[in-house]
Homo-oligomer: 189 residues x 2
């Protein structure tokens, strides 16, 4: 029996796989094309439920994951019954996971050992947009503020650089700050 080669892990990230993926994509850019999906079913009032399961990537449909359900609702002050978290809070959760992963993955590729990363998010929304009471306020977030704490043996300047790189390569951060086109149609299927 041959000994199985252990993958090189840095902060739990498989660095060998990361660089192998980079090499593969350089040769076959199609491998980098991913399609992510969700469905949503309205339940009642402001309560709806999203389901996430399959995705396409690395030239393959992946149906191997079990469906995960996400309940979304509003608090009573926003006409709901707290049967789930608010969609605009889900957006902050998405941003938090993406910035964190981007920070850790890119630092790991550089061999920086990380003991801990914590972050907090706060965003401002003026409900007059949603209610159609003012054309002068944005309907979406006016501002989002993010604060990171990084526990690692690096200088303050290097931590600033880690946070800069996290933003540069985070898909959710870039979707929000640079915008993305969203087409919404009646389903003909």
């Amino acid at each position: 029996m041959e000994a199985k080669k252990e993958p090189k892990l840095e902060n739990g990230i498989n660095i060998d796989q990361l660089f192998a993926t980079v090499d593969l994509i350089k040769q076959k850019p199609d491998v980098a094309e991913f399609k992510f999906r969700a469905t949503n079913k309205w339940i009642n009032g402001t309560h709806s439920q999203a389901t996430v399961r399959d995705f396409y990537g690395a030239l393959t449909e992946d149906n191997s994951r079990k469906p995960v359900l996400f309940d979304m609702d509003e608090p009573p002050v926003l006409l709901g019954n707290n049967r789930g978290t608010n969609p605009v809070e889900y957006l902050l959760a998405a941003l938090s996971g993406c910035l964190t992963t981007s920070l850790v993955a890119h630092a790991s590729a550089k061999g920086i050992k990380i003991r801990g990363v914590q972050s907090r998010y706060e965003g401002d929304i003026d409900l007059r947009g949603f209610l159609g009471l003012s054309e002068d306020v944005p309907v979406g977030y006016k501002n989002i503020r993010v604060y990171f704490k990084i526990d690692a043996d690096v200088s303050g300047q290097e931590k600033e650089e880690m946070v800069r790189v996290a933003q540069k390569y985070s898909p959710v951060f870039n979707t929000i700050t640079k915008s993305a086109p969203v087409s919404v149609e009646i389903d003909k299927k």
Copy 2:
């Protein structure tokens, strides 16, 4: 004992409360200022956990909700272990809940009775952005496509109008399509 007045519900939305809120905000615009929040803790590798609890709105801090935790991770092809849903999938879930609530709330205000709303979401991401392999591809979503099925006794044209209004007033849709500034800093606290 006086009989308690039943609120007017349309599709589970309290229409009396909705119009009372509109009247209040017209007099006191500060009531419309909301702050939504999340925190995130990195666990290991591509796995992190977000927590959502408190928010500010209607001139009040709301700490009444129990914390809700969201695990985020990547599938093995993206260096993770499926310990949670991908952050870019959370973004689609957020969009789905927000468009659905916007659609139902604005239709309810017009007195349109809805039996069902379902929708599906698909977005394209080219991983060369995240990996820093190309400056020519967006790091975030290139495109997001949304398809709605509405079960209600209205014409096809009215369903198109419901979908148009849903987009116009959805905070998450507008954050994504019109962008929002996000500041990311090292936490000095």
